[in-house]
């Protein structure tokens, strides 16, 4: 009676949870797809973290298209279709590809009053070296030159044309593009490409936004093709990768989910026959996965697609509990549901406990993503297991099978392999162990680790190719490398950047970097501005102005004032190129900090060496930092693996004693050591994701040994059948992951596949042949 009440309460609770999940899903759920969101945020240096975040964020918001056609007019028309479609859709906040005349005017207006303190690096060098004549000659050349490079209005306010020279010395981001009317274009191989680029208004990793953006682009593309039939569209931006990755992950989740569900059902149907076991199985799996989804949503507020992907694979593990139960059908000694449950209960309890230990260690990892996977799994597995324990006795009316079932007979051979004393069995055992040892040895020779975030992220070779083309055509180096420069206040910071100029110019000359962009280039320090004013006054105007004016026959008096104040970053409008200046400012409380962008770093070592003597200057490479993090956490995962073993052992020792506990652990430990080596032979380097898979191999593998250790005598074949089915189910789920195009998922799947197979193969070795329960 108590049992019946418990089952009903449990079912009601699950129905309530599923109903609530339905309500949550109906109101929309945020699915996160950024792999970097899985990473921990534990950079100790707050400024570096802020700078990295700001830059990574800003980079991920950017998108770029090159719209190409053999006809320049058609390319421009097509680009116009695209930009107006994007503008109308509201998915874009700002275009960086249109020449914003208003922003240019604002920029000019901000600089103009302070022009006497603004000198290009070359002009400064000329004045300091006493080559003022060169500036005079250049001014003359402008006045007399073709097409009149200088006019009277400029002459009256800047007689040596120093401000234009300064403006032209400012760094440009797209070096190969030319200004063509109000668009930026580049010609390559007879095709004219028009740039359409800007910033997104939404988060590129939010699935809803991706979908909208993608739809707008696809619709625009159709109309562009109508306008320019030979259209070439090259795209770049995190949003395209994210969309591709999310689609891939969702597709895979669906495929893997369905395949493993169908496969598992088919297994059960073939082995157990009848519809009732399938219904019961679906109840266990369904309650587990749905409650896990809800639990994750409640805890984290959103679900990462990778958690979903790994979570769905749970189907393969949660089915183990029902399989253990169903296999009791083959045991004539367990004629009814209560006896069956009693028989499997110790195994289920210990199995669940060891698996939960494995997943709970994942909870200890400071990875937000792993916490999600762990939460998802802990909830899902517990719910499935409790469903088996509480509900199965209530619904199970199955009569026991007659002994000698062909599946049972076949499964019995698995046990015999490890138990039989025959020469053949012993020989097979030796061959198996030798083969495994040989493969492991081969793997050791080739073993290598891989932590490069590029390998984990880059999914679509087509998109990668487009990105490379974009960078080549536009001359925009895709830079995620920068210097973080810090000082007590803004002025000191600008001066520090100016002192760095010489170093950076040398690096540029040596080819270590292609270019650099600093705030100080746009806003010289006050010290530099007053120095410039003095240089212009004492070395140019005082000795040369009168002679120059009379030489060219100028009657008036040029107005070249020296204002009281100075140009400071705070006085700049947030428009045009100055928006970049604001982006580079990452100052925090009590400290001024700027990002100094490095374009196309070809020799990071040279950059590091060059700044090594400078205090408060740090070289930051986002990709390298992420890679380092993956390396750190690969080691972390190994430590978690050891911790799992350490936590499981007392539990096993408590039930089986020290020696047998070691035997129970041995097959899984063997799998954990050998699987990565064999995976190496299959061309999968050892990554953080393989290490995570090993934790699961351990916790799932130990289940098999536990089930074997819990069984004995005539029930041995039944148990081997159960673990064979369990392993098959798990492999059905994770074997599919090995087929994934996502490298991380592929690595995870391969490791699981090999590890689970080994753990299953050796599991009966953990059984005690003499013991009879």
């Amino acid at each position: 009676m108590i049992r019946r009440v418990g089952a009903i309460v449990w079912i009601l609770a699950i129905v309530a949870a599923v109903a609530y999940l339905g309500i949550r899903l109906a109101s929309g759920v945020t699915l996160e797809s950024n792999i970097l969101a899985l990473l921990p945020r534990q950079e100790r240096d707050a400024s570096v973290q802020r700078a990295s975040d700001r830059l990574a964020n800003s980079l991920s918001q950017r998108f770029g298209f090159l719209v190409g056609s053999r006809s320049p007019e058609k390319a421009i028309a097509a680009a116009h279709i695209l930009s107006s479609a994007l503008k109308q859709s509201g998915t874009v906040t700002a275009f960086s590809s249109t020449i914003d005349q208003d922003a240019q005017k604002k920029m000019g207006a901000a600089y103009f009053p302070y022009r006497s303190g603004l000198l290009s690096e070359a002009d400064r060098a000329d004045l300091k070296a006493g080559r003022a004549e060169a500036l005079k000659d250049r001014a003359m050349a402008s006045l007399y030159g073709v097409g009149g490079m200088a006019d009277s209005r400029l002459m009256a306010r800047d007689p040596f044309f120093l401000l234009p020279s300064y403006l032209l010395s400012l760094p440009t981001s797209q070096t190969r593009l030319t200004v063509d009317g109000d668009v930026l274009t580049v010609q390559d191989g007879g095709i004219t490409y028009v740039l359409v680029s800007g910033d997104l208004s939404g988060a590129p990793y939010a699935l809803d936004f991706q979908k909208t953006f993608h739809k707008v682009v696809a619709e625009a593309e159709t109309r562009m093709k109508a306008a320019a039939p030979d259209l070439t569209l090259i795209r770049t931006g995190a949003v395209f990768y994210a969309h591709d990755a999310a689609n891939e992950a969702l597709d895979e989740t669906t495929v893997i989910g369905i395949a493993s569900l169908v496969g598992t059902m088919a297994l059960i149907l073939i082995v157990f026959g009848g519809i009732r076991p399938i219904m019961l199985d679906a109840l266990a799996i369904g309650s587990g996965v749905l409650c896990a989804f809800l639990g994750t949503l409640l805890v984290f507020g959103q679900v990462h697609v990778l958690s979903l992907l790994f979570g769905v694979s749970l189907i393969g593990i949660s089915v183990d509990y029902s399989l253990q139960y169903f296999c009791e059908y083959f045991d004539p000694g367990a004629p009814d549901s209560v006896t069956r449950l009693k028989r499997v209960l110790p195994g289920l309890a210990i199995g669940l406990a060891t698996t939960l230990i494995g997943y709970c260690t994942l909870l200890l990892a400071p990875f937000p993503g792993l916490k999600q996977v762990a939460t998802f799994s802990v909830i899902g597995l517990s719910v499935s297991c409790f469903t088996v324990m509480l509900c199965y006795p209530l619904f199970d009316r199955h009569r026991p099978y007659q002994p000698g079932n062909r599946f049972v007979r076949f499964a019995a051979k698995h046990w015999a392999l490890w138990e039989a004393k025959s020469t053949m069995a012993v020989g097979l055992r030796i061959i198996l162990i030798l083969a495994l040892a040989a493969m492991a040895a081969g793997g050791i020779a080739k073993f290598k680790t891989d932590d490069d975030v590029h390998h984990f992220q880059s999914l679509s070779p087509d998109l990668k190719h487009q990105e490379t083309e974009f960078a080549r055509l536009s001359g925009t180096p895709a830079g995620t490398q920068f210097l973080l420069v810090r000082a007590a206040n803004e002025e000191a910071l600008l001066q520090k950047e100016e002192r760095l100029d010489a170093t950076l110019l040398r690096l540029k000359k040596n080819g270590a970097i292609a270019d650099f962009t600093s705030v100080a280039q746009y806003v010289p320090s006050v010290a530099r501005q007053s120095e410039n004013r003095a240089l212009v006054r004492d070395r140019l105007f005082a000795p040369h102005l009168a002679g120059y004016l009379s030489e060219i026959g100028y009657d008036g008096t040029p107005d070249y004032p020296t204002p009281k104040g100075f140009l400071t970053p705070g006085t700049l409008p947030n428009a045009g190129p100055f928006a970049l200046v604001k982006l580079l400012d990452v100052s925090g409380a009590g400290e001024a900090a700027h990002v100094l962008l490095l374009g196309d770093v070809r020799d990071a070592g040279a950059v590091k060496a060059a700044i090594s003597g400078t205090s408060d200057v740090r070289f930051v490479s986002l990709a390298d930092d992420w890679s380092a993090l993956f390396a750190e956490y690969r080691q972390y995962a190994i430590a978690l693996l050891a911790l799992s073993v350490a936590l499981m052992f007392p539990l096993l020792a408590f039930r089986y004693g020290l020696v047998r506990a070691m035997r129970v652990l041995a097959p899984s430990l063997l799998a954990v050591v050998v699987a990565p080596l064999i995976a190496t032979l299959a061309g999968v380097p050892f990554t953080f994701f393989n290490a995570m898979a090993l934790i699961l191999v351990l916790s799932v593998g130990v289940d098999y040994s536990v089930f074997c250790a819990e069984t004995g005598g005539e029930r041995k074949p039944v148990t081997t059948l159960a673990i064979a089915l369990a392993a098959l189910g798990t492999i059905l789920a994770f074997g599919m992951l090995a087929l994934s195009r996502v490298f991380a998922v592929h690595a995870f799947g391969m490791t699981m596949l090999i590890g689970i197979f080994i753990a299953w193969l050796f599991a009966p070795a953990a059984g005690d042949n003499a013991r009879r329960k």
Binding site: R138, A141, G145, G147, G148, S152, T172, Q174, D180, G553
Partner: protein, 208 residues
């Protein structure tokens, strides 16, 4: 604030070679790719605030598809080489200034308009200018007024007047600032690609 009047350069560049043929020509003498047009120029810039016009003279070389070399000989020696890649200025044979096309609005239009003009098609010019053409027994006169003076490259230009017979003989540029530039061309000569190695090197250096 500071703009290089690229459109103006486009106009001279393009129409240097657009000239109605015959005595009172109505069809342009075309300089096709591979040909080279050479000639002499005199430029007088009448700028506000200057007592007298700034006068310069020298020679020019136009190689369609490659660029224009503008060699000032008086009052001082200075060479400007204009290509699709940008402008390079040489003073006494040494690089004095270099501007890439990425910083120079209008320069990229140069070749589009140039090729259109060479083929006698004023269509592209009509996108930026109101074109008025008149003919008399001495030759022809083309007046160009910006269609949209709001465009950055246009905002300085008030009017362009081109005159000529077989070739363009004169260009007059009026600016909104009140400045007027007058360029007269003479001694035109079209030859089959006979660029000197030095000229080729200069064009190559500027296109870099």
């Amino acid at each position: 604030m500071f703009r290089l009047p690229g459109v103006f350069a486009v106009a001279i560049f393009g129409l240097l070679s657009v000239a109605p043929a015959s005595a009172a020509p109505a069809a342009p003498q075309t300089v096709t790719a591979g040909d080279v047009l050479r000639g002499h120029f005199v430029q007088a810039r009448q700028l506000q605030g200057f007592a007298k016009p700034l006068k310069s003279e020298g020679s020019f070389v136009l190689a369609p598809g490659r660029g224009l070399i503008w060699h000032n000989e008086k009052p001082f020696d200075n060479t400007a080489i204009i290509t699709a890649g940008g402008i390079l200025q040489l003073a006494n044979g040494r690089e004095a200034m270099r501007l890439s096309a990425s910083k120079l609005p209008g320069l990229a239009q140069l070749y589009g308009v140039l090729s259109a003009a060479l083929s006698g098609n004023t269509g592209p010019l009509q996108q930026t200018f109101v074109v008025t053409q008149t003919t008399n027994e001495d030759g022809w006169r083309v007046e160009l007024k910006p269609l949209d003076s709001g465009k950055q490259a246009m905002s300085q230009i008030k009017r362009l007047v081109l005159t000529g017979s077989r070739y363009v003989d004169g260009v007059e540029v009026e600016r909104t600032s009140g400045d007027v530039d007058r360029i007269t061309f003479s001694s035109h000569k079209i030859t089959k690609s006979d660029l000197t190695p030095n000229e080729m090197a200069q064009l190559k250096a500027a296109a870099k």
